[in-house]
Amino acid sequence: MNRIVRDDGFHPDDLEHGEFLTLERLEAGVEAPVLLQLEPDADPSDLPRHFAWISGIRIHFPNFTDGRGFSLAARLRQLGYGGRLGAFGHLIADQYSQARRSGFDEVVINELMAARQPESQWLAKSGWRQRSYQAHILRSA
């Protein structure tokens, strides 16, 4: 069973049985708000016109060293996406703060990762708002 990691720790994945559509499928037209799954090479520039039809987005991290998902999340927020945004795939606890600061609300991990890096290791990163140089620059300017 997958776990969703948020600032207050582990939660069961409420979307485990949800159907995630690809970008192509969404662009073909849908009847009701849907869940969207994005690969890291997705181009989101046309996405704003579909925002009303999206109830949640998850961005795939094929490998934890592939940082495209962080920029993709930041770009989605810059385009005005205000809905639920998750990261899933291979992410480690040490990336939780970067995920949150890039615009993700939550990180979805599998059971193996949850066992190897238990809740305490993720909670240790929940203070991600402190010690952000980028926020510090905006504050001091």
Partner: protein
């Protein structure tokens, strides 16, 4: 000098605690070796040929005596009593134990230092002109900009897992001493149409196996726009840079494959959007940073002692002639302390030497020290009256070598003696060259000449931009040294060209002797430097000197 704020101090200390925890989590199996690797690299910890190596950041090469004393302390307590200053203005400790590294990082944090982002696929420690704030040709001091970039790039959440490493250099002078054209991004202060200063932005420079000179992507960027523009470049690179082949993953390949104009369009689109979220913040911030780098108060000191010593002491005069640069204040000089003694290891300094340098800076030179990418140490603000005393003290510590800009002032990577990537030795080659030309007493006659040596194709020794570049390769188990000619690291940057096949380690020094003999014969006068001579005549006469047998055959 930049003084840490409470925020900076809390940040580096939290980072030490985090790394201590990461080491423990590696040991208890929470982190796999694969997962631990980028985390240790981001904290400066490499695995070398024989041991771990800790690379400590010296942001834009600037430090004070307290920090230099601490580096000496670290070298003695946790290493073998010395450190190695690098072409990235950093210092490397070659023999730390993994378990000691968190304590070493703690010792660094005690003096407002760190090893953050000195390695790994992220934005590396920002480098700058080592004469910043002292040079007489400066449009502006590049350090406030470099410090702003240090802060912005530190743990930037988007850019910690880039396709490959990313290096930024800043220059404040038309004369480029920061090799801005061989960096992923080069930033040069320029004057706009009014009198306002802004930046020229270069992108896609780099050495390594595919050397490229950076291209101008913005000829004038207003200062306010620096951070959103950097974010735009980095975001486009992070999303589009190649991740399928590490040798094609640098931004220079993206520029090359996408084309500068297309890439520029993508960056401008991203920049327009980014600027709305990250608006004109840095002008005010730069002003507050400028205050940190305000020049020290220079006093008009009596310099007759200096003049007198010059006339009486030829050793001192020679040292002054090679190791001093003009300061913007005529009462002062910029002193370069050579870390290239004859037959020494370029860039190495013992703990005692570090302390000597620190004490001199504190007593005589406004407590400022710089590390140059040429692997020497600079005292940027020295009242001329103190030069005789400084020279005396340097002599006692083996630091008075008078060879700046000459043939023995060689840049060399660590090579086979330390590095896991190296395919040949580079330090011993540098030592042989300096020894041989010292024996021949030709150094001064040859004049300004930059030899740069890399022990593998990754080009850490900058060989592509050496007037004479030497690249050590492995040919079926035998070291082979390729020579390149005509490289240039300055504002007239050029990649050196290979005149022909390489040489064995034994053949290399005689080949260089022939090459330089030829130069001495064909130069117009003693004022024509090797590089000028090469540019005037092309490589033919040098080829003939290097390969006399094939020249005879052809004739």
């Amino acid at each position: 000098m930049y003084r840490y704020s409470e925020f900076d101090d809390a940040f580096v200390r939290a980072r030490v605690a985090e790394f201590r925890d990461q080491v423990n989590r590696r040991i208890n199996g929470s982190l796999t070796e694969e997962e631990f690797k980028p985390l240790r690299l981001k904290n400066g910890l490499y695995l070398q040929l024989h041991a771990y190596m800790l690379r400590v950041a010296i942001p834009y090469g600037t430090l004070d005596s307290r920090q230099m004393h601490q580096l000496a302390h670290i070298a003695e307590v946790w290493d073998k009593g010395y450190g190695h200053f690098t072409t990235r203005q950093n210092i490397q400790f070659n023999w730390p134990k993994l378990a000691d590294v968190p304590d070493m990082l703690e010792a660094l944090a005690d003096v407002s230092m760190h090893a953050i982002q000195t390695s790994g696929n992220c934005i590396r420690n920002v480098t700058a002109d080592h004469f910043a704030g002292a040079a007489d040709d400066e449009i502006e001091d590049p350090r406030p900009t470099a410090e702003l970039l240090r802060q912005w790039s530190t743990d930037h959440p988007e850019f910690q897992y880039l396709p490959r490493k990313f290096k930024i250099a800043v220059s404040g002078s038309p004369n480029d001493r920061a090799v801005t054209r061989a960096h992923d991004i080069g930033i040069r202060a320029v004057r706009g149409k009014g009198d306002e200063t802004g930046y020229e932005i270069l992108v896609g420079g780099g050495l390594g196996r595919t050397p490229m000179i950076g291209k101008v992507i913005r000829s004038f960027l207003p200062k306010d726009d620096l951070l959103p523009y950097m974010e735009a470049i980095l975001r486009v690179y992070n999303l589009s840079g190649r991740r399928d082949n590490k040798y094609k993953a640098r931004i220079k390949i993206l520029v090359h494959e996408t084309g500068l104009d297309e890439l520029k369009d993508q960056i401008e689109t991203e920049f327009t959007a980014r600027r709305r979220v990250f608006p004109g913040v840095n002008q005010r911030l730069l002003e507050s940073l400028n205050a940190h780098f305000a020049p020290p108060e220079f006093v008009d000191a009596e310099s007759s002692e200096y003049e007198l010593r010059r006339t009486r002491d030829p050793l001192f005069r020679t040292w002054c002639d090679t190791n001093l640069n003009r300061h913007r204040d005529p009462n002062l000089a910029i002193v370069t302390i050579s870390l290239k003694p004859v037959a020494g290891t370029p860039g190495d300094a013992t703990a005692d030497q570090m302390r000597t340098i620190a004490d001199l800076a504190k007593s005589f030179a406004h407590d400022e020290i710089r590390v140059s990418h040429e692997q020497n140490i600079i005292l940027p603000h020295v009242p001329k009256a103190f030069l005789p005393r400084i020279h005396d003290r340097l002599k006692r510590s083996g630091l008075a070598t008078a060879n700046i800009g000459l043939i023995s002032d060689i840049i060399a990577c660590p090579g086979m003696d330390y590095c896991a990537l190296a395919t040949a030795r580079s330090i011993p080659i540098a030592q042989e060259i300096s020894q041989r030309f010292d024996e021949l007493r030709l150094e001064r006659k040859i004049g300004p000449l930059k030899i740069k040596i890399s022990g593998c194709i990754n080009a850490c020794g900058h060989h592509h931009v050496g007037h004479i570049g030497i690249l050590g390769l492995d040919r079926a188990g035998v070291e082979n040294y390729q020579i390149t000619l005509g490289g240039d690291a300055t504002e007239t940057a050029a990649i050196g060209k290979r005149p022909g096949p390489g040489f064995s380690a034994e053949e290399l020094i005689p080949a260089l002797e022939r090459l330089l003999d030829a130069y001495l014969t064909i130069r117009l006068s003693g004022n024509e430097t090797f590089l000028q001579c090469y540019r005037r005549l092309g490589d033919q006469p040098f080829k003939t000197a290097l390969y006399p047998d094939s020249a005879r055959k052809a004739a």
